[in-house]
Amino acid sequence: MLFNSLTFIVFFVIVLGLHYTIRSWRTQKFVLLIASYLFYAAWNPPFVMLLWLSTIVDWYVAKALEAQEAPAKRRFLLTLSLATNLGMLGFFKYGEFLLENFIGLAHLAGMEFHPALPSIVLPVGISFYTFQTLSYTLDVYFRKSKRCQSFLDYALYVTFFPQLVAGPIVRASDFLPQCLQPKRATRDQFGWGLYFITLGLFQKVVLADGLLASTADTIFKAKDDPVFFLDAWLGVFAFSAQIFCDFAGYSTCAIGVALCLGFVLPDNFRSPYAAIGLSDFWRRWHITLSSWLRDYLYIPLGGNRGGTARTLANLIITMFLGGLWHGASWTFVVWGLLHGFYLAVEHLLRQLFPSVSWVKTGLGRFGLSLLTFLLVSLAWVFFRSSDFPTAWLLLGSLFDFGGNGSQLLLTREIIQVTLVVGGLLATHWYLHEKRLEHAMQNLPAWWVVVIWATMLCGLILTQGGGNAFIYFQF
């Protein structure tokens, strides 16, 4: 079920009605669990069984892990959980990719191998919930946290519908304690949750789908001829803004929906396009994934504890896998590696020039922020392109200042993208050292009403709905 659909409005009203009329906390949680399964099944009912499989395996593995002391048996249990979760992910997400690459290698080796390519449907959100359940088992394995005592609470943790399909990826230690006491949003919490939902939908429906998507599509679909450099840059910036508004929009809705039910979910974005440096960017972009990768991959690999060369290698390995997590395609791998390379270069520069003063000035910070945005946008070229020829063609167009290439964008689209991207960058810069909550608190109430009503009118006028969020495919 999509947040930007009429079905969700009806569904959410019913869930809220039940949540606030039922008195027993246990029954409330049960209702939320059933609602979460319905929310997921509304896409493709059979895939609920995968959720059940992941839930049951990790529940029993964690239970056994807590009772087991023998290291070998503990390792076996962990392997069982990893094999189940990563096996599911591997089959559904990477099965075709692996087969295609195997066929390619076989052809390179001169072997004729033509198996029928399976048509595997990717279950929505599988990358998100497998990482979430894995974090629980890993925490119990490393004795960072105790196993959950209530199956209902644990199942709700895995399945909680606001963040089930596209994050934020929540840790068990953050969610399970919230299941212990009855949850009812206060009046203001509920209202603030509704504001979040409106803001998230506005980002997705009006900005991402309504004002940015068609421009990005036009430029990234130009496969045969180079594109005029101005159009190419605008197309890339349009996608940078689109993917932020799309994904941050989903996270914002998820936080708002959870808040209306009395639950707190973590922030997933904090003005990432005002980041100063790539390291800072990953503190602000998809925060719950980057912290997951840090805690369960980068640190176990040795983090920054093994000298410069090892740190750089760890960064690149982590980002390589981060890229692969996003999609089963070499373009995603290159996107991840490019970010790994950026981080490695930044790490080296910090070591070589530890006390450069100009980077701390306002102008220096602003300049670095723009440079970061440019580098991130260039990396999006690989993320968005359907194949390498498209990516190379577009990269070539971006730096061909000789006036060659097709002019594809209408004046209206140029104005539209410039205003939206400019507005987004200005907003991120304004909020780069403060939270949205503080900025909203400082606004007079009538201004809040004007902004809120404008967003609602924008949603009604756009009549969006039905367009899936980009991150659902991951």
Binding site: S5, L194, S214, T318, L456
Partner: protein, 366 residues
């Protein structure tokens, strides 16, 4: 990914609520939005809009699933001419069966024909509206349009079905929920500041052109039928659309011609295969060439002459066909914008088609 583990903090699980009376603000915002929406609704009605059903992929899917339950029904496929010019009420009265309308605007219908051919139980009659230029399109938006509709039907999830039924409840009551004309994007399309010389401006149909009902009975609006300025604008959109595209870069006219001939052959082969497959299950296929007039008809006759397209189609598939030019009673209609009949004429046109259909049926070919 932060490169320093020491300076990086795990996300904070804390949610600050800004100090405002949020429910009161929500209430004010909703009231203002409701007032603005009401104003917008009244304004749209003052422009002549009435509540109408959107001709969405969901609506198409809702008609396509009818065939899964009743695979012996008569089906109409084609493009906008089939949608506008065919009166399903008349057909039902005269032929005793209500057809399922699956024609869509700006579409190559071959994919629909192949979908019916692949249906394991379909044994009804397919009436295929043929607009030669569209029917012979080898790819591009005309083919993408039919794929988009079929994909929706094939992947139609429970939540999308539910959303469609809720949307219909609202669309029946609110005029501004018109996705063809009144969304933010459609409104922005009407703003056209001067473009750079090289930029190709895609043609867009002006507002107020057509409507459909819940069974996808389509038709030209009264406004389009009566407004000459609108008709002239639409006529100018057809002319480049029905002219041949320039040759690809580095391609000679001969090479382009050879490429088109190959593409035509592929389409004829696919059509024959689909028709044969439908026939093996007892189904029937009838081709129908609906009227066009004015410069558009001259353009169609010049670039897609009937000997090359229509006659070959009937010969290759051995299927019956009705070409409006072959029957005097079908030629004296005027298409206001050269491509579609108005509602009144579509009723009369369908009435005049009936004896021809009955004749085909009497021969067991329908």
């Amino acid at each position: 990914m932060p490169s320093s583990t020491s300076s990086f903090e795990t996300y904070e699980l804390k949610r600050i609520i800004p100090k405002h009376h949020w429910m009161l603000l929500a209430l004010f915002s909703v009231v203002i939005t409701a007032v603005m929406t009401l104003g917008w609704e009244l304004y749209c009605r003052s422009l002549g809009y009435e509540p109408s059903i959107n001709d969405s992929t969901d609506l198409w899917a809702s008609r396509r699933i009818v065939l899964d339950a009743e695979p012996d029904r008569t089906v109409l496929i084609g493009s906008s001419r089939m949608l506008f010019d065919f009166d399903m009420d008349v057909y039902e009265q005269e032929m005793g069966e209500r057809p399922v309308q699956l024609a869509t605007v700006g579409t190559n219908p071959l994919a629909y024909l192949e979908d019916l051919a692949d249906h394991p139980k379909f044994s009804g009659t397919v009436i295929v509206g043929v607009v030669p230029k569209l029917f012979m399109a080898p790819g591009g938006p005309l083919v993408a349009a039919s794929k988009k509709h079929l994909d929706r039907y094939r992947d139609w999830s429970p939540t999308q079905k539910a959303g469609h039924y809720i949307a219909r409840i609202l669309e029946r009551r609110l005029a501004f929920l018109n996705k063809e004309d009144l969304t933010l994007n459609q409104l922005l399309l009407r703003w056209n500041p001067p473009n750079r010389e090289q930029v190709k401006v895609p043609p867009t149909l002006p507002p107020h052109f057509h409507t459909v009902d819940e069974e996808r009975q389509g038709g030209m609006t009264d406004f389009a039928e009566k407004t000459m300025a609108l008709q002239k604008r639409i006529q100018q959109i057809w002319l480049p659309l029905f002219s041949p595209p320039p040759p690809n870069k580095g391609q000679s006219p001969e090479e382009q011609k050879a490429e088109h001939q190959k593409a035509d052959k592929r389409i004829f082969d696919r059509t024959k295969k689909a028709v044969d497959k439908i026939r093996t299950r007892g189904g029937k296929v009838v081709f129908l060439r609906l009227p066009s007039t004015g410069e558009l008809r001259a353009l169609e006759n010049k670039y897609t002459p009937r000997t090359q397209i229509w006659d070959r189609l009937l010969t290759i598939t051995a299927a019956p066909g009705i070409h409006f030019e072959d029957y005097p009673q079908l030629t004296d209609f005027d298409c206001p914008e050269w491509s579609h009949l108005n509602k009144k004429d579509s009723t009369e046109f369908t009435r005049r088609l009936i004896p021809l259909f009955k004749k085909i049926r009497s021969k067991g070919r329908m």
